[in-house]
């Protein structure tokens, strides 16, 4: 999918954003290609919304370049922005106006959006019957749907949704998934979705970018990630004195040991290294009560990549 011959729809180049002394986004670069659904994954406060807000024109990056559909956002603002659509955080519109009027007003700011197109997107998100109600009478999920309708109204080349499943019912999530896949795979739209739920990403994304503390840690396809999960090579060694064992092992396998508990420690090594590892422990006088291979899920991989901490900086 992401062949280098295809021109990227969105290019983010060495973008940095600081708030005061805090660096929320740190030198992030990646490309988004037409026809793919890109998942933006990271724990709370990772910097997902900040990146999206920079792309959407809310924030100015301190450094770096954002290129949308070939136009530099800084120098060609309106051309660049006309090929982008999306929702930032919660979709918020003019509450006292009807959904249709909201869409009409938004359409006025773009070229070539017809009345039929408005009906078409309303139909697509299943809100045609309620289109003349004011937004304030909408539920959270309905607002999310109308937000999606607005985001795709002008057939943008890049569609960016910040946590779009927030508030949607299972049917809504399903619909969203279908719509996004269809847009990407059939109409060649570059879709970027942010979330902190891996399971959600797994079902709709082709590629995933993992971010934490403002740094982009990894970009890979969903298959790579699952492959990694299957090939996990973490072994739990049961011993009566794990701290002594850790001392011994860390000489040979630096930075591989994690989760030192009362009588276990986890170590990440290849299958072929097990023998040697056990031998080292035994020769140093540690007793080995058992060795167990740990089953790894996608969540674990994710936690592993992001450092697994619950502390938000």
């Amino acid at each position: 999918m992401a062949e280098s011959a295809v021109k990227p729809a969105l290019q983010i180049q060495k973008v940095t954003k600081t708030f005061g002394r805090k660096t929320a986004v740190d030198n992030v670069s990646f490309d988004l290609y037409p026809g793919e659904v890109f998942g933006f994954l990271g724990p709370n406060g990772a910097g997902k919304t900040t990146i999206i807000k920079m792309v959407m024109g809310f924030f100015r990056p301190n450094e770096g370049t954002i290129i949308i559909n070939g136009y530099n956002r800084k120098t060609d603002y309106e051309a660049a922005m006309s090929s982008i659509g999306g929702i930032v955080e919660n979709p918020e519109m003019y509450n006292s106006l009807s959904a249709r009027l909201n869409l009409k007003m938004y359409a006025r700011l773009h070229k070539g959006v017809t009345e039929e197109r408005i009906n078409e997107v309303l139909e697509l998100v299943g809100l045609l019957d309620r289109a003349d109600d004011p937004i304030k009478k909408y539920s959270l999920g309905m607002k999310q749907r109308i937000g999606l309708a607005q985001a795709m109204l002008h057939r943008p080349k890049v569609l960016i949704l910040d946590e779009p499943t927030n508030g949607l019912d299972p049917a809504g999530i399903h619909l969203l998934r279908d719509i996004l896949k269809k847009l990407a795979h059939e109409e060649g739209v570059a879709v970027m979705v942010s979330s902190h739920l891996l399971s959600e990403m797994q079902l709709m994304c082709d590629r995933i970018g993992i971010i934490n503390h403002g740094k982009l840690l990894r970009i890979c396809s969903i298959e790579d990630l699952m492959h990694q999960a299957e090939n996990s090579s973490v072994y739990r060694i049961k011993t009566s004195n794990p701290s002594k064992a850790k001392e011994v092992l860390s000489e040979k396998y630096p930075n591989r040991i994690s989760n030192v508990e009362a009588d276990t420690l986890d170590i990440e090594i290849e299958e072929s290294q097990i023998n040697e590892c056990v031998r080292t422990l035994v020769s140093s006088g540690s007793d080995i009560l058992g060795v167990q291979k740990l089953e790894s899920s996608l969540e674990d991989v994710f936690l592993e990549i992001t450092g697994g901490g619950t502390k938000i900086e």
Binding site: R60, E92, M93, M105
Partner: protein
């Protein structure tokens, strides 16, 4: 450009869906419509009151006479007669003289009593009702004064009356005769003759005024309000002419050299006054009430309009930020300065529409309540001749000029809204600014006529009186009385004020630009 127009259309849609806006619009219309009727009501009740008391009527004077009569008793018992002889320029004149035996403090009552008796016996109250007739009132006063003067002379004992006394006596009787003619026969020339004899003002100003009045109203039909307007106009006319001739200007009671622009203003004022005097289109009692009703109606409506606009301007950015609806503007392919411009344009559209609405409503209401014909046009000078424009057109232009000042306030509200991003703060501060607009007059009171006060923003916002220097001559209240902006008018020329405001606008725009365009949207 098309983007700005699209944004502008959206802004207008948003505003037209705001309930608070319409509530204020309705309030504005109702207020501005009802004021002329209130003025009419107040007027009617005050008229009724004066009719009840029947001031200056026959019964009124009878009552007054009876009161004095009770004090003094029969007036004849104070009188003694004798024939006296005086030698004036070698001729002997015989006088059937009267001697009054009165204390000093009785003279006034005595002379009044005689006058009342004469009036009740001879005055035709039906033909010349005194109430609200200028000439009758003035002549009555002259008659009473002249009679009192004569009584004073008649206190002198017969023995002490010399030829000097006789001269005083002759001139007093002359004036008394004239005042009798003026009063009992409603005779203007006699009244004019008294004024000429007694006028000791510089340049015979009073005589000129009354002479002009008698020309315009030879039969003495005017009520005292209308006569007052004519007198005022003639007084201005004469004073201005005199100032022009002497090359001085009277500002706040002191004399300063006449500037070129002031000279032109005086010359034009003279032209207008002359035109109004000769064409009989000065402010009258009727038009002044109508103008009062109209301008109070405008003032009330405009006050609400300003409050409404300040709320709109002060909330336009911050409210969208608070509700988050700003997002759909930021995501759209429009530069932020265009959003900003469209918002300002939409606010100014409402200011304009509101001004037109108020003009229409107040014209209509005043017309219905006080008569359409009583609305006086605005007179101005163009190409050396006096022109007039209908009052509604003038009111509209007046508002347009005033909208320039209004724009500054709205821009300030808008800028504060961009800067603080807080509706409460920005609406609060800007309403405060509007309400303290009169600070320059307060400062003038505190510190006197100081140069630096002229350079304050508020002092330069009274563009109306600079653009329309003659509107007072057409019976309009000045900006201060009309409750509009700027309040005091500084002596700096219009072009200075315009430049000053242009720079102010530029600075405000710069701050707003920084607050909204350059800063991040959270």
């Amino acid at each position: 450009m098309s983007k700005i127009f699209a944004l502008y259309t959206n802004e207008m849609i948003k505003l037209s869906h705001r309930l608070s806006v319409w509530i204020l619009v309705i309030l504005m219309v109702i207020t501005s419509f009802s004021v002329p009727f209130l003025v009419k009501g107040a007027l009617n009740s005050s008229n009724n009151m004066s009719e009840e008391t029947d001031a200056f009527g026959k019964t009124d004077f009878t009552k007054r006479r009876d009161t004095v009569m009770n004090e003094l008793g029969d007036p004849n018992r104070y009188v003694e007669h004798e024939t006296l002889r005086f030698t004036i320029q070698n001729e002997t004149v015989e006088l059937f003289a009267t001697r009054l035996h009165l204390d000093e403090d009785q003279v006034h009552d005595y002379s009044n009593l005689c006058c009342y008796n004469a009036m009740l016996a001879n005055y035709n109250f039906d033909q010349y009702p005194i109430y609200d007739n200028w000439l009758s009132k003035e002549a009555l006063q002259q008659y009473f004064m002249a009679y009192f003067d004569l009584c004073q002379l008649n206190l002198v004992p017969f023995g002490s009356r010399n030829s000097k006394w006789f001269q005083s006596y002759v001139s007093a009787t002359e004036i008394l005769d004239l005042s009798k003619d003026a009063f009992f026969y409603h005779d203007y020339p006699s009244y004019l003759a008294i004024v000429e004899k007694t006028d000791n003002s510089t340049n015979q100003l009073e005589t000129k005024i009354v002479r002009r009045l008698s020309e315009l109203d030879p039969e003495g039909k005017l009520n005292d309000t209308d006569a007052g307007y004519i007198q005022e106009a003639v007084r201005m006319y004469e004073t201005y002419s005199q100032n022009l001739a002497m090359g001085v200007d009277t500002v706040n009671g002191s004399y300063v050299p006449l500037t070129e622009s002031r000279r032109e203003q005086l010359e034009n004022s003279i032209l207008i006054l002359d035109y109004q005097l000769t064409h009989g289109c000065l402010t009258s009692k009727e038009t002044s009430t109508a103008m009062l009703g109209r301008q109070y109606s405008q003032r009330a409506g405009r006050f609400l309009l300003i409050i409404m606009l300040v709320i709109i301007a002060g909330s336009s950015i911050s409210l969208e930020m608070a509700t988050g609806s700003i997002k759909s503007l930021i995501i759209a392919p429009v530069k932020r300065w265009k959003i900003f411009t469209a918002k300002l344009l939409s606010i100014m559209t409402w200011a304009l529409a509101g001004s037109i609405l108020i003009t229409a409503v107040s014209t209509l209401a005043t017309g219905i309540a006080l008569g359409f014909s009583s609305l006086s046009p605005y007179y101005y000078v163009s190409g050396g001749t006096v022109q007039s424009m209908p009052d509604y057109l003038f009111t509209l232009l007046f508002f347009l000029a005033d909208n320039i000042s209004l724009f500054i306030y709205l821009l300030a509200a808008f800028t504060i809204s961009c800067l603080t991003r807080n509706t409460g703060i920005s609406v609060g501060i800007s309403t405060g600014l509007v309400l303290t607009g009169g600070i320059s007059s307060t400062l003038t009171e505190l510190f006197g006529q100081k140069r630096w006060i002229d350079f304050l923003p508020f002092s330069n916002m009274n563009l109306v009186s600079k653009i329309f220097p003659y509107y007072k001559l057409s019976g309009y209240l000045d900006a201060e009385d009309a409750g509009l902006f700027g309040i005091t008018n500084n002596s700096l020329p219009l072009s200075f004020s315009l430049w000053y405001l242009a720079i102010l606008v530029f600075i405000l725009l710069l701050i707003a630009y920084d607050g909204f365009v350059r800063r991040d949207i959270q």
